[in-house]
Symmetry: C2
Subunit: 87 residues, 2 copies
Amino acid sequence: MLPQTLVPYIGLTAAFVTTLCWLPQAFQIIRTRDTRAISLPAYAAFACGIALWLVYGVALGDGPLILANTITLALQLTIVGLKIRYG
Amino acid sequence: MLPQTLVPYIGLTAAFVTTLCWLPQAFQIIRTRDTRAISLPAYAAFACGIALWLVYGVALGDGPLILANTITLALQLTIVGLKIRYG
């Protein structure tokens, strides 16, 4: 079993990774201007879902939830904007 | 302000949307066999991050966290597998 003191750090690392992982996707699109394989319904729905996580974080006054989802939402809206622009 | 009774439903809806939104991305790749615009580092990192969320959910014994991240991980590993296959 996991030592209980490790558990919050696993959650923090998970939040860090699932937030910043979208940077290479955004950079690849900016570099190549290719978004053909990107699913607009998937990314639009993901952005809406992240916005709901942000509302949830604000309602709970949960700092890490607010921070992680604000950054993820900004990255996702960037990718959705690039998808709409490049098609 | 939001009625507090609504807050858990917002979290549930957020989890539902950010889990199932990857279905249209997976279906688009299966249909078109095109993954060129998909960033392998982004999706591989996202899958690792979701695996960490799953470990976190198991450590906390949190059912919704376990369920949502198991489904998301399965969808992400499918997309990563398709990316590796189609390039």
